[in-house]
Each structure stands twice: as structure tokens, then as C-alpha cells.
């Protein structure tokens, strides 16, 4: 269970351009399910995911992951939890240019101290799982949008996280690639992963794989179903 209590987040606090992205979020999210956060731009969807994934800390309130409060942990522990529990798929994929698909997938596992060959083998398995083994040695900038996204998903999976966080995963994909993404999500859900994603995409909302939708408006939860 992921639980948020009275989570508020301000940017540029105390400055003239102070902005409250989250204004008191109370939420309980089930594990091994697919939850989609929807709402207009600036409604706080992405900020909420960064709080859940430990990429940022709330200004106030608490984020609990399996009964453990992660919002007040020192950076070292928070990074460790992020590395072992969460995998991130960013909107623009954020692959490192000049590196191969394989090297990009290996990145999250470098600091774990695994033997190089084991690391490489695991990265290749992830690419194979997503049908990208043939492109392992291709540079990131040579990949198409759909290929880059699958490499980004492989990178998110390399440390075998329980929770996958995806920010607008289909925003840069055409209809066919979006369908493929949903198939991958269904496969991951079947493997027992928890999937949290933000989206504007009506195809996602209607997808059978989705278990719940949280609607957001002005930094607050408007409704959830």
C-alpha cells in the first residue's frame, strides 16, 4: 500500500513566485494495480508522482510506502529505496545520447556493484523482454520514439522494482505504439508490478489494464474511481 496524508508541495516558497503544486493530498493506492492520474496541465499530476517516487519531498504531509514513512528519510536511504523500489519512465524518455541502448539500460544498476558481465546479461534480458535485443548496440539517438520508450522501460525494470512510475508515457507515441505500450503494461501487471502513470490520453483511460483513475484539479484530487 502507498499512502499519502495531507501532502502539500510548494515551489519557490517564500518568494514572490511561490507556487503550490499540491494542496493537501490524501490518497491510498493499491499495489499490483495500474493507477492513472489524469487532469489538465498544471493540476499537479507529475508533482504527485515525484513525491510518491521519492524524487522530491513534500513541503508538508507524509508519504508512506508499505507502512514506512519515506518523506523524511535522509537522502542516502531515500535514494536506496528509489533505486530498489521504483522504476521511472519519463515523458521524453531521457535516454543518454551517445550511449547504446544496452548501456542506457545498465545505468541504474552501475552503483550496485554487480559484476560487469552479470549487469550486461541482465540488461540484455530486459531488452529482450521488450523485443529490443536486436537494437542493443544502437545509439540512443538512432532509435525511433517507440524504440526509445521500450529502452526506457527496460531501464526502469533493470533493478526489478515493485513500482513503475511513468509520466505521460504515450504523449510522444502514435496509436499503434500506444497500443503496444498498453500491452507491455498488461504484461508487467501480470508479473505483479504496480504501475502509476500520468496521462492526458483517452486511450489510456479506456484501457482494460487500468484499475483506477485519479482525477486532479489545481493541486487537489477532484475524484477517483
Amino acid at each position: 500500500m502507498i499512502e499519502l496524508s495531507e501532502v502539500r508541495k510548494a515551489y519557490n516558497q517564500g518568494k514572490p513566485n511561490e507556487f503550490w503544486a499540491l494542496r493537501g493530498i490524501d490518497l491510498r493506492l493499491s499495489l499490483k494495480a495500474v493507477t492513472v492520474f489524469m487532469g489538465p496541465s498544471g493540476s499537479g499530476k507529475t508533482t504527485l508522482l515525484t513525491m510518491i517516487g521519492g524524487l522530491a519531498r513534500p513541503t508538508s504531509g507524509r508519504v508512506r510506502l508499505m507502512e514506512r514513512d519515506i518523506s523524511s528519510l535522509p537522502e542516502k536511504f531515500l535514494t536506496d529505496i528509489r533505486r530498489r523500489t521504483f522504476g521511472f519512465v519519463f515523458q521524453s524518455f531521457n535516454l543518454l545520447k551517445g550511449m547504446t541502448a544496452l548501456e542506457n539500460v545498465m545505468i541504474p544498476a552501475y552503483p550496485l556493484g554487480l559484476p560487469h558481465e552479470a549487469l550486461r546479461k541482465r540488461a540484455l534480458e530486459m531488452l529482450d523482454l521488450l523485443g529490443m535485443a536486436a537494437k542493443a548496440e544502437s545509439k540512443a539517438e538512432w532509435l525511433s520514439g517507440g524504440e526509445a520508450q521500450r529502452v526506457a522501460i527496460a531501464r526502469a525494470l533493470i533493478n526489478d522494482p515493485d513500482v513503475i512510475i511513468a509520466d505521460e508515457p504515450t504523449a510522444n507515441l502514435d496509436g499503434q505504439l500506444a497500443e503496444q505500450f498498453l500491452e507491455i503494461m498488461a504484461e508487467l501487471k501480470a508479473r505483479g508490478k504496480t504501475l502509476l502513470m500520468t496521462s492526458h490520453d483517452p486511450r489510456i483511460r479506456k484501457a482494460a489494464v487500468v484499475d483506477g483513475i485519479v482525477w486532479m484539479q489545481d493541486g487537489q484530487i477532484a475524484s477517483s474511481d
Binding site: T46, K76, T79, R82, R84, G113
Partner: protein, 377 residues
């Protein structure tokens, strides 16, 4: 321990891959850094080699040189003084020397004219250094003419050109017979430029010098150790001057490195954000960047030092020769003996690698504490 080492290896592998991704930028940095190390290392290696060479040359030099002084200036030493010196206890050998300088307007250079103690050339012949041979294009059998003290022309036939191995001491040397020397300078028989003495017990050189000073109060006594110290201080001064100038270059480079590290591009900042978002700690980023700095600075050090070694010991340091070797018009073709001093290498390493690492560590730390959520916003 095994995991720690593997982690370091993984980070190093990532660092090398990162460096290769920005080949152009990193290559430019490596070239500039190597050039700085090359200049500093050349100056240090060459001045050190000169000091060694001077010490080797002076090893067999006489322990004492005695000059006659008149009005505080060096004057000719009469034969009678040599006889008095020979009676000083502890002195085993004494002889008068004849030497001087000769300006050659054709080469626009000063030669050192000497009468050798052993095997002097035949009358009318001269043994010349390689520098003179090169400047005048003179080979054995050729003739060289100079104006003597009274304006008359004296002609010498070249008997021999002195071998290259001793070029530092002999490049501008012009060895003649005693009679020719006296005719050239108009110095009467029985007068010498100065005298050199050997002492039986090297530990009593100072005592012998004191006795000579008592016996001949109008003389100046120069000890071999004093000459060596003079050489040392001259080379120290020149090396110091050069190092002060080069320190400016090192500082400029440190500022350049700081600028480079603090002015991380938006792309580099984005990458750091991605690394942190996918689970790298601030410490991992710092380690990776330190590896990057270490690889860059140590590579530049090795390249610069190796090039300096070749420059000094195989090419004779053509870039620094005029500053470090002195004022002479006719530089000897001096190629120092290859030699590496561990202390010197360590000093250079501290002078170059540490400023670079120090200049980059703060900006790198500032970049490493970027919030990981920036990549989501």
C-alpha cells in the same frame, strides 16, 4: 570489499564512456592540460639536467683557483707567486693557467681561449670546440685568423675539433700553444691569468685557502664548492623565473577548469538529473566526476611528462634552452643525460593534478546536488 571495488570499476567504465561521448570537448581540454604539464616538466627536467652536468664537470676541477687582485679587479699573476704557493703545506700541485676571451666579429661570438696543461697544439695550430667549428665552418686543416692585441693578424690552422660528448664545456673553446697565446694577448712570459692548486686532504681545502690568503694578501681564492654553489644559484634563479612565469599558466588553467566545471551545460545537468532519478546517489555522481577529473588530469600528466622527457633528453630542449642555459651567443649543442628524479615527479604531479582536481571539485559538488525531480518537470 569486492562489491566496493566492482562498484568503482562500474563507475570508471561509465566515466570512460561519458568522456568518449564528448570527444571534441575533452580532447581540447586534454591538449591544453598536456601543454601546461609539458612546459613545466621541460623546465624542471632541463634545469635539473644542467645542474647535474655542472656537478659532473666540476667533479674533476681543481679544488682551489688563486687570482691576483689589483684595485679590486682580477690582474695577472707573476711566476714568483706560484713559487710561494708551492711552499704552502698541504698543497700537492700548483700551476699557472693562461686563458681569456676572444671576440670573433665574423661569428659575432666570444670564444674562450685556453692553453691546455697537457698535449697543447703545435705552434700555429688550434684545437677548437664544435660550436666554433659550426659557426665558422672550420674543419681540421682549415685556417682561422684573428686580430692580436697590437692589431696584427694571427692565423691558426685547425688541428682538431673537440668531440660532441663534452659540448657543454667545450663548445666555444679555442685551445692554443703558450707562445701563440702570449702573442695573441701580449702577455709577457712569467705572467699567468691565474693559478690552480690541488690539496692533499680534501677536508683541509679551507685551511689551505686561509694559509694562501695570509701568504698572498692581494689574492682572491675561489673554492670548487663555491663555483658549484654559484652554478646552483644561477640555475635556481633561472628555473625560478621560468616557473613563476609558468605558474601564471597553471593558474589560468585552473580558472579555465573551474569555469568548465561550474558552467556545466544544460545537457550535462539534465544527465546528472537522470542519473539521480534512476537511483544514483550524490556520492556516486561525485565519484564519477572525480574519476573523470582523475582520468583527464593523470592522462594529461603522463602525456605532458613523456613529451617533456623527449623534448629535453632527445631534442635538447630547444624551447627553453635560451632561458635556462644563459647569455652566451654560442650555445653548445648540449643533450643532457636522461634522468628522472622521483621527488621532482611528485612535485610536478602536485603542481598540476591537484590544482585541477581542487578547481573542479566545488562546481562538481554543486552540480551533483541537483534535485532529481528536475528531470520530471
Amino acid at each position: 570489499m569486492k562489491i566496493y571495488l566492482r562498484r568503482q570499476l562500474n563507475l570508471l567504465e561509465f566515466t570512460l564512456s561519458s568522456l568518449l561521448r564528448r570527444k571534441g570537448k575533452n580532447l581540447a581540454l586534454l591538449v591544453v592540460f598536456s601543454a601546461i604539464v609539458f612546459m613545466l616538466a621541460s623546465a624542471l627536467l632541463y634545469s635539473h639536467a644542467l645542474r647535474r652536468e655542472a656537478a659532473i664537470l666540476l667533479k674533476d676541477a681543481p679544488e682551489l683557483v688563486i687570482q691576483k687582485m689589483v684595485g679590486g679587479r682580477h690582474d695577472l699573476l707573476p711566476q714568483a707567486n706560484l713559487a710561494k704557493l708551492a711552499e704552502v703545506r698541504g698543497i700537492t700541485q700548483i700551476h699557472g693557467r693562461l686563458w681569456g676571451y676572444l671576440f670573433d666579429p665574423i661569428a659575432a661570438a666570444n670564444y674562450t681561449v685556453m692553453v691546455p696543461q697537457t698535449n697543447p697544439p703545435e705552434p700555429g695550430f688550434a684545437i677548437i670546440g664544435e660550436g666554433i667549428s659550426g659557426a665558422r665552418g672550420a674543419e681540421p686543416g682549415d685556417q682561422l685568423s684573428f686580430k692580436s692585441h697590437d692589431g696584427g693578424l694571427l692565423t691558426f690552422r685547425v688541428a682538431q675539433v673537440i668531440a660532441y660528448e663534452s659540448a657543454l664545456a667545450t663548445s666555444d673553446l679555442f685551445l692554443v700553444n703558450e707562445d701563440d697565446y702570449r702573442r695573441l694577448y701580449g702577455i709577457a712570459p712569467g705572467l699567468f691569468t691565474d693559478a690552480v692548486a690541488k690539496v692533499r686532504n680534501p677536508r683541509e681545502v679551507g685551511k689551505a685557502a686561509e694559509k694562501i690568503a695570509e701568504l698572498l694578501p692581494d689574492s682572491r681564492i675561489v673554492l670548487r664548492d663555491e663555483i658549484l654553489r654559484t652554478y646552483e644559484s644561477v640555475f635556481d634563479w633561472r628555473e625560478g623565473l621560468l616557473l613563476v612565469l609558468l605558474t601564471g599558466a597553471v593558474l589560468a588553467f585552473a580558472i579555465f577548469a573551474w569555469e568548465k566545471a561550474s558552467g556545466l551545460s544544460a545537457e550535462e545537468r539534465r544527465e546528472i538529473g537522470i542519473l539521480k532519478a534512476v537511483g544514483w546517489e550524490t556520492g556516486d555522481i561525485l565519484l564519477m566526476k572525480m574519476w573523470e577529473g582523475g582520468v583527464m588530469s593523470l592522462s594529461a600528466f603522463l602525456i605532458g611528462y613523456l613529451l617533456a622527457y623527449l623534448h629535453v633528453f632527445y631534442l635538447g630542449a630547444p624551447l627553453f634552452e635560451p632561458v635556462l642555459k644563459g647569455w652566451a651567443t654560442m650555445y653548445p649543442a648540449f643533450r643532457p643525460t636522461p634522468f628522472i628524479d622521483g621527488f621532482q615527479v611528485a612535485t610536478l604531479l602536485i603542481l598540476t593534478v591537484l590544482p585541477y582536481l581542487a578547481a573542479t571539485v566545488v562546481p562538481i559538488w554543486r552540480a551533483a546536488i541537483i534535485d532529481p525531480d528536475q528531470v520530471m518537470r
